[in-house]
């Protein structure tokens, strides 16, 4: 499978301040790649460096196999970008802005702009400066998508969108992927990433902390286990099991986190009379926070 984005120890420093450091990622064609991290972690700096708005202070980046600096214009012709805080001349109407984008891309006509405007219920006749943040964001999404690019770079794309429009956006991304498009999606919304991404890179303090398939990330994670017995259990019996942590005994109920295989837990429970057993998968957010917590302490 062709690699669409490839960075090798990409670094960008702001004087003595941290930007990003040693970021090496590889995004395959047709993949929805999540780029996850809290505000200030380096997500936007990475995207702006890939787009050649910032020049790297180390390492390199290639998109479509082309150098992100030397071939920036050729690359930008093939991608659609939604900046984190989408802004354009507020005096223009949506139609005027999209017409400018089409002309600058050498495209005759509005592409799929009208259909997208219909789907996102965007008002293209009003001046962009008169629109609410969410409605401005719709214009931003349309300008990123209307020319049917090979790669979408989206920085916090659902900011300001109401829940219905967020659903519509996720549907559009899904359809785009089905047509073979590649998405690089920066977000701090774990639910969003969980729903649309194939893989997720976690960035913290400018460095890549992990790159995992969303499914693997879940698989690597723990379970919340809660078992109710017919009498007070011996907590020590469960505490001895490898991978069990945060154990609490409350009357006949024992609760803990169990990572790895659950077989020893089930076997230990089976030695008693079990009245009820709950097994809960953690949300990606919990996994993410656990991951961050562990890395943060090291």
């Amino acid at each position: 499978m062709a690699v669409v984005i490839e960075t090798d120890r990409l670094a960008r420093r702001y004087g003595t301040a941290r930007g990003i450091d040693d970021v090496s990622i590889s995004v395959d064609q047709g993949e929805v790649y999540g780029f996850l991290g809290p505000n200030g972690a380096g997500k936007t700096t990475t995207i702006r460096t890939l787009l050649d708005l910032l020049h790297p202070s180390g390492g390199s980046a290639r998109i479509f196999g082309l150098d992100s600096h030397r071939s920036s214009r050729q690359i930008r012709a093939r991608l659609g970008n939604l900046p984190g805080d989408f802004a354009c001349d507020p005096r223009l109407t949506g139609h005027e802005f999209l017409a400018f984008c089409a002309e600058a891309r050498g495209i005759r006509g509005p592409g799929s702009g009208s259909l997208l405007a219909q789907r996102f219920e965007a008002d293209l006749d009003r001046r962009i400066g008169e629109l609410s943040r969410g409605n401005r964001q719709k214009i931003g999404l349309i300008q990123a998508l209307f020319h049917d690019p090979e790669l979408l770079m989206l920085d916090e794309p659902t900011t300001g969108l109401d829940p219905l429009m967020q659903e519509e956006f996720l549907a559009v991304v899904g359809e785009y992927r089905e047509r073979g498009g590649t998405v690089f999606l920066s977000s701090h919304d774990l639910d969003e990433v969980e729903r649309v991404c194939d893989r997720v890179a976690i960035i913290r303090e400018g460095r890549l902390a992990a790159v995992e398939k969303v499914a693997d990330l879940r698989g690597r994670a723990y379970h919340h286990v809660s078992i109710e017995f017919d009498g007070p259990p011996d907590g020590a019996e469960f505490a001895r099991i490898a991978g069990v942590s945060e154990l609490e005994v409350d009357g006949p109920r024992v609760s803990f986190k169990a990572s790895g295989a659950l077989d020893p837990v089930v076997k230990a429970a089976a030695r008693h009379t079990v009245l009820d057993m709950e097994l809960t998968e953690p949300t990606l957010e919990e996994i993410f926070l656990t991951f961050y917590g562990r890395e943060g302490k090291s």
Partner: protein, 284 residues
């Protein structure tokens, strides 16, 4: 919300994959820039034009008084402000408008046009959107320079037409050739200071700083040229002022060497600014 975006998009694969040639993107930038500035061009052109028409129209009624007042001026001041030539309507309009007000106004307009399309757009986050399109930075800054050049030329043309009509309606023998030379003579000044703004935009990120430096250069060069004309000791350093080459085209006609030299200096400043703009980061 049930409308699907077709998989076979209206945009052909060929169109999608190739970056447009630079003239296509330059045309888009210039066209958009001129559309954005059409209202301000009209407002500035009509405002300065009405002022010019008024000055030309009142000349016959104040000509005698001006000649009397002019006689009382020291010779240095008369030379510095072109008062000695107020015996003609063109000389009067030059002294009242084209020796200071129009060059400053047009220079300021040109500076703002460049700063608005570059550093101000950067501050407001617009460049993140524009430079994600296949528009090179060179095209962006050269396009904004062409917009500034066209817009200032349009303002000057409006000013010239209205000034000429005002003079003719009032019965003066105002010369179309000298009025045309007068307004065209300001244009290379606009190109020069647009170049100064392009250079500073290439190096800096703050629109107030860019505008301040370029406008400061405009005022300082005017003051230096004026001081050089008033104090002969400062005369030898007038060459560093753009106003030294501006002269008084409304009164004396255009000096082609100065016209080309000033415009050429503006273009050189633009080239230097473009090189810097391509090398620097776009901050937000």
């Amino acid at each position: 919300m049930s409308v699907a975006v077709p998989s076979a998009s209206a945009v052909s694969a060929r169109e999608r994959r190739r970056a447009p040639e630079w003239p296509v993107t330059l045309r888009a930038v210039v066209r958009r820039g001129l559309l954005d500035r059409r209202r301000s061009v009209l407002i500035w052109g009509l405002s300065i034009g009405i002022y010019g028409a008024f000055m030309a129209a009142i000349y016959p009624s104040i000509q005698t008084s001006i000649e009397k007042i002019a006689k009382s001026y020291p010779s240095g001041l008369k030379e510095a402000f072109g008062v000695q030539a107020m015996s003609t309507v063109e000389g009067y309009i030059h002294a009242e408008m084209f020796s200071l007000i129009v060059p400053l106004a047009i220079g300021y307009f040109a500076i703002r046009a460049i700063a608005g399309a570059t550093v101000s757009a950067e501050e407001h986050g617009h460049l993140d959107t524009i430079l994600a399109l296949p528009i090179s930075r060179a095209v962006l800054i050269v396009g904004s320079y062409l917009v500034a050049a066209t817009a200032t030329l349009s303002i000057l043309a409006l000013t010239g037409v209205m000034t000429f009509l005002g003079g003719r309606i009032a019965g003066t023998h105002i010369s179309l050739g000298l009025v045309a030379a007068g307004v065209m003579g300001v244009w290379p000044l606009a190109l020069f200071f647009a170049g100064v703004a392009a250079l500073t935009s290439g190096a800096l990120h703050n629109s107030r700083t860019v505008t301040g430096i370029a406008l400061g250069a405009l005022v300082a060069m005017y003051a230096l040229d004026l001081a050089g004309r008033l104090a002969h000791g400062l005369g030898p350093i007038r060459w560093i002022s753009a106003f030294r080459y501006y002269g008084a085209p409304m009164r004396d006609g255009i000096d082609p060497a100065s016209f080309i030299g000033l415009a050429g200096a503006g273009v050189l400043l633009l080239i230097a600014g473009t090189v810097l703009f391509k090398r620097r980061d776009v901050l937000h």
